[in-house]
Amino acid sequence: MAKKRIATVWLCGCSGCHMSFLDLDEKLIDLAALADIVASPVADVKEIPECDIGLVEGAIANEENLHVLQELRAKAKVLVSLGDCAGFGCIPMLRNQFKNEEVLDRAYVLAESNALGSVPDQEVPALLPKVRPIHEYVEVDAWIPGCPPSPEAIWQAVSALLTGKPAEEPVLSYD
């Protein structure tokens, strides 16, 4: 049986969902036997290739996030929302109660330690007016909730998708 192909992307999130994935620890070695990680922030491939499973961490906050999400949706047979930022917007969505200019000014102009310069606007992707969860832009096939989801929940979902055998008792822990 050909090995399945997994791609993972990190959009507007804290990387905690990817770290929980790495918390599979020695199971990463089992995973490497079942599947190839064809693109990921922990690997070196820059363009997203065709893949069986695409895992998305993070919400959609800027133009680049949206572009990467659409790219992965086009290449992945099954798209999985990993964690609460991708699923519901979570922490990054707290930005939505303010205007973008207010948020940027606070960080780059008004901050107590700022002495020189202004809000960056060259070579950096423009912010979208509001932060949104991924399902508002593309179709999502599966969700793994949690902030971050536990490694057990990630393993159960990913191994079920890899082997086609659904788990008997889902482990969705919020600790």
């Binding site: 690997a43 070196d44 948020v103 606070r106 330690s113 060259q122 902030c147």
Partner: protein, 477 residues
């Protein structure tokens, strides 16, 4: 003809970044820039929330070093309440912090950087990662994975969860250490030490075989800043600030971290979401400084634990009496800190009061302001909050570790691009670009932290001519 090269995204660093390399008329590298392209906005959206929520809210800045933010924030909220945590709570916090240091440094070395060193900078990008390492050297990969796991176990035992623990409260901690967990963690010390010693052998062996490359790779003088104990020793949880110059002269010593604004300021550049902090008296960019493992080992007088001290003596020889400058020595410094971390873990676990039940110092005050400063794995981290009488947050200022290495990372990519990116008949080669990225990987930038403001970091190499016209762009696939 002059051109611009892009590397986008920079991979195997924790975040979203891009590099642009600018060439001059003759086609030689004139400048290189590291852009951070993601932003989130914590400074603004924390406003209005109660200060006691901050330790669990701000740790979501970063999933790699959540404990550092959790603790810096806890120290800021202690200051708002005008209390010091109880002795047991203080020890538990430091223990959890050492767990963070071990897991984060293990991740940086074994999972992210060792593929370059062990598989080669020019090896196939499709397998030049931790999974390639699992295939090529499963024993070493397993050991590295288990070392990171040990750090995460310490965090879970103290904090209740591996990622985003919820244990720090104003004045202390909300749960005691279970004696069973204490036993299990002590039982893991030997294996963790053995793996760290192995990592040190791997890196020293690499240095010996590639001596000239290592000595000259992104090596440049700078200032260095770090916390030290009141005796001047290596310190991560508490202490006072020290800033040293390129020759080791002390520019500031035993400085109260709460007064940071009088000697640190930040600049912004319009092409990056990551700010550029500098030493105020020297201005920007002259006052740029480095932080993190290399800076801490350069700044301290002694390690304070026996095995780390032995290794520190060897490390110092690399600088011949001056601070060690080469960016690739960050890896060695990081592993020496892991040794220190494990030795501290052992000392703390053996303390008779570590499982004590006195965990919270009571307070009924709410002071208008609090600053919490800590040495995160990547360097000094500042959380500064101002609150109203009821404790609602009015203003938040954050200075993250990776920002303080921003100028150095830009200098490192420029130096490496000048040395290794040659635009000749063969065109750009992937291995050259990977060397540029590797210069960034030395600093292990946490782009998640860096972009707490609003942001993310990919790597592209772009080539511009002397007039700033984009001529070429390279994204690897």
């Amino acid at each position: 003809m002059s051109r611009v090269i892009k590397i986008d995204p920079v991979t195997r660093v924790e975040g979203h970044g891009r590099v642009t390399i600018h060439l001059d008329d003759a086609g030689h590298v004139a400048d290189a820039r590291f852009h951070v392209v993601e932003f989130r906005g914590f400074e603004k959206f924390c406003e209005g929330r109660h200060f006691s929520e901050m330790p669990t809210l701000t740790e979501r800045i970063c999933g790699i070093c959540p404990v550092s933010h959790h603790l810096a924030s806890a120290k800021a909220v202690d200051a708002i309440c005008g209390v010091q945590p109880t002795p047991t709570a203080r020890m538990l916090r430091e223990l959890m912090h050492m767990g963070q240091m071990i897991q984060s440094h293990a991740l940086s070395f074994f999972h992210l950087s060792s593929p370059d060193l062990l598989l080669g900078f020019d090896s196939d990008p499709a397998t030049r990662n931790v999974f390639g390492l699992i295939a090529a050297n499963p024993e070493l990969a397993r050991k590295g994975i288990r070392l990171r796991k040990y750090g995460q176990q310490i965090i879970a035992a103290v904090g209740g969860r591996k990622i985003h623990p919820d244990v720090c409260v104003p004045g202390g901690m909300n749960r005691a250490l279970d004696p069973e967990d204490r036993g299990a963690l002590l039982a893991g010390v030997e294996e963790a030490l053995a793996t760290t010693r192995l990592g040190i052998r791997v890196i020293l062996d690499y240095y010996a075989k590639n001596e000239k490359f290592v000595r000259t790779f992104a090596s440049f003088p700078s200032n260095y800043m770090s916390l030290v104990t009141p005796e001047g020793n290596l310190e991560h949880y508490d202490g006072l600030l020290r800033m040293i110059g390129p020759d080791g002269t002390r520019l500031e010593d035993f400085y109260d971290p709460a007064s940071y604004l009088s000697f640190i300021a930040e600049a912004t550049e319009d092409w990056s979401y990551l700010k550029f902090p500098f030493y105020r008296p020297q201005g920007y960019p002259d006052g740029s400084y480095r932080v993190g493992p290399l800076a801490r080992l350069n700044a301290c007088d002694a390690a304070g634990t026996p095995e780390a001290q032995k290794e520190l003596d060897k490390f110092r020889k690399l600088g011949g009496g001056k601070p060690v400058e080469g960016s690739l020595y960050y890896h060695y410094a990081r592993l020496i800190e892991v040794l220190f971390g494990i030795e501290r873990v052992q000392q703390l676990l053996n303390h008779p009061d570590i499982c004590g039940q006195e965990l919270i110092a009571e307070s009924t005050q709410i002071l208008p302001e609090g600053v919490g400063v800590i040495e995160a794995p990547r360097g000094t981290l500042f959380h500064h909050y101002m609150v109203d009488e009821g404790g609602a947050i009015e203003r938040v200022n954050l200075i993250v570790a990776s920002g303080q290495n921003n100028a150095a990372m830009n200098r490192a990519v420029t130096a490496v691009a000048k040395q290794y990116v040659k635009v000749n008949g063969k065109g750009l080669q992937e291995g050259m670009l990977n060397k540029v990225e590797a210069a960034i990987r030395c600093y292990d930038p946490c782009l998640s932290c860096s972009t707490h403001a609003v942001g993310q970091m990919p790597l592209v190499v772009e080539m511009f001519d002397c007039e700033g016209q984009l001529l070429d762009r390279l994204e690897r696939d």
